[in-house]
Amino acid sequence: MKIKRRDFLKGAAGCGVLAAVGQPTFAKAEIKERLPGALGFLYDSTLCIGCQACMVGCKKANDMPVESSDLLPIWENPRDLSAKTLNIIKKYENGTGTNKDQETDGFAYVKRQCMHCADPGCVSACPVSAMRKNPDTGVVTYNKDACIGCRYCQVACPFNIPKFEWDSAFPQIVKCQLCSHLLVKGEIPGCCSLCPTGATVFGPTNELLAEAKRRQQMDPGKYYDFPVSSLDSGKIFSREAASYVPQIYGENEVGGTQVIMLAGIPFSKLGLPELPEKSYAATAENIQHTLYKGMIVPIIALAGLFYFVNRSQNDKD
């Protein structure tokens, strides 16, 4: 007895098409929203004076070594985030570079560190849950005791944030964890506490979003009060509002992030990627869960295969 190969192929092709077509319909329901208690900070590039106090605060708070990419310890050191630097201020420059927050003939600063995504790629990627999203604060943390060093989190991060200790025999992944060790003590992240101008201000993400929207309504050139360190610190810095680009970076990118940013020039100029509203993690997980349906599909498939293999053996006997 022979099964009709044509029928089998038809069935197999049908399954493939169904699986492929089924994905978009499942996609919407799965998007992970920001947690109500999400914590983060607002970085306002127009308030940043490039003093790098946040970098010092970060190094101190996390016991990280000083790092120099070049021989001379000039301003541009280190050049980028690394396994020794969790937080960095970078500079955009164009033409004469004289006017702050101007795209042509101007300059602008940008702060880079973990964005603490609402639906983080690294958390979805990690096979051993070494990357975890705190269920209350939404802060993305790393656990070296779970980590196997596969570096899929690095592949999965749209911002290239997790770094790996390439030159260690016993390496770890290193990333900003929003100073979780300080948060539990009621303190705020090192970068926020040392920022003198309120460019980096800590708070619950929904309040930060409201603050960002307030700033975008300001009249450029007029004086306003800006909270320093954290939204509820009571410390105020008063200065003229700059003119902002309309985008709040992190409001919608890859499903939203807990760290959000304002700037005077387009974010693409500051080296931030243009990202869709739906997280890649949601896309990947939908496909996987649609195909597998909690391992029910593979088990049915295994039973079917057992039947066919058994029959092919009986035919022979």
Binding site: Q154, Q288, L302
Partner: protein
């Protein structure tokens, strides 16, 4: 059933020594990697956290090791017993391919001493595609050794072992598991998102990777059979390969229709003609898929051992490039990151390949793997 016999002959031949030397050089670089860290021997970096060890040794390596899977699918699921003589050598190649992919993972991961964490329920993350790949491949390596085990027993006892119900379960598992992880090897790169060129980034990745892997399986069987015939001076198995090769153009048409249909629907085909490295590699990848399709569409070509081998070579390169493109060439993390494998890194990959060839040579000489006649009866 096939009357598989050991090929016999000396183990220490010229080619054997060549591959042995490469393996020894690789062992030097391996010790460097474990003493000084991955950065000491590789050019991988925070932008390109995966290099050729993952791309070649694991992703391409297991696709090339799909012979056992593809043949099992044909022989057992589609009940085509006539191909049985091709199963054992295919299984052997699969067993080594997958086992060495497992070894490569161990070399590649930074915190290898905690590798067992993937089996600990309190650590497992069921949203992780990589967890599925890891568990699936780990189990499949075991399944392959079990599937191959009758060969050891036959070599010892001299009698043919019978297939029992437990073995049927393992054969069924041996078809299911690669279906799962070969598609998931495509799904893995969905998370790369904006970093992967739209020529390769698509929610269709699991489907195209699966079809490609099955195609690779049949292709490798043709390749490996021809090389074995030449290397061990045995008659060509052209008749049976001719029949088998008909599957390949069918699979290729399905693959190419999905591939191009998807790219056209997303409106990204223009990227192919940018004249940059990614565009050119996309074109080359597809030429290497279309050429064997054209060759094997002709019945006359399918009867020629030369043409079969030629198209197998094209297609293996095509499948290799499809995977390199998806994992490395189409991948651009931005921020000025670059990657080209370092010498030591390359040698460790060569070692994996050499070890595979060495073991294959020893096994077919000492164990009943290859069928006694060019045209074994079913």
């Amino acid at each position: 059933m096939s009357e598989a016999k050991p090929v016999g002959g000396k183990v220490f031949t010229g080619p054997f020594l060549f591959f042995l030397i490469i393996t020894l050089i690789g062992i030097y670089f391996l010790s460097k990697r474990f003493i000084f860290g991955i950065g000491a021997v590789t050019n991988m970096n925070d932008g390109f956290p995966w290099g050729i060890w993952i791309t070649y040794d694991v992703v391409v390596g297991t696709a090339f090791a799909c012979g056992g899977y593809s043949m099992a699918l044909l022989v057992y699921a589609f009940n085509n017993g006539e191909y049985h003589p091709l199963v054992r050598p295919a299984l052997l190649a699969s067993m080594f391919g997958y086992t060495l992919a497992g070894v490569s993972v161990f070399i590649d991961i930074g915190r290898y001493w905690q590798i067992y964490n993937v089996f600990l329920p309190w650590y497992t993350n069921f949203n992780s595609v990589l967890l599925e790949v890891a568990l699936c491949i780990a189990v499949y390596i075991g399944v392959l050794w079990i599937e191959f085990s009758p060969t050891f027993l036959e070599a010892k006892s001299g009698t043919k072992s019978k297939v029992n119900k437990l073995m049927i379960f393992f054969i069924a598992l041996g078809i299911l598991l690669p279906t799962m992880h070969q598609s998931s090897l495509g799904s893995l790169m969905i998370l790369a998102g904006n970093k992967l060129s739209p020529l390769w980034w698509t929610p269709m990745l699991p489907l195209t990777f699966l079809i490609s892997a099955i195609t690779m399986g049949y292709t490798v069987v043709i390749f490996e059979s021809t090389i074995s015939s030449l290397g061990f001076k045995r008659p060509f198995e052209t008749n049976i390969l001719t029949k088998l090769s008909l599957v390949i153009p069918i699979l290729l048409v399905i693959f190419l229709v999905i591939r191009f249909g998807d790219i056209l629907m997303r409106g990204q085909l223009g990227l192919a003609f940018n004249g940059d490295l990614q565009g050119n590699m996309f074109l080359l990848e597809n030429i290497l898929h279309i050429l064997p399709l054209v060759i094997l569409a002709s019945a006359t070509n399918r009867k020629s051992a030369k043409m079969l081998f030629l198209s197998a070579c094209f297609l293996m390169l095509g499948g290799l490039l499809f995977r390199f493109n998806t994992y490395l060439i189409g991948f651009n993390p931005g921020e000025g990151f670059h990657y080209f494998p370092a010498i030591g890194e390359q040698f460790i990959t060569y070692t994996i390949i050499s070890a595979e060839i060495l073991l294959y040579m020893i096994f077919v000489k000492k164990l009943p793997v290859l069928s006694g006649h060019g045209q074994a009866k079913v």
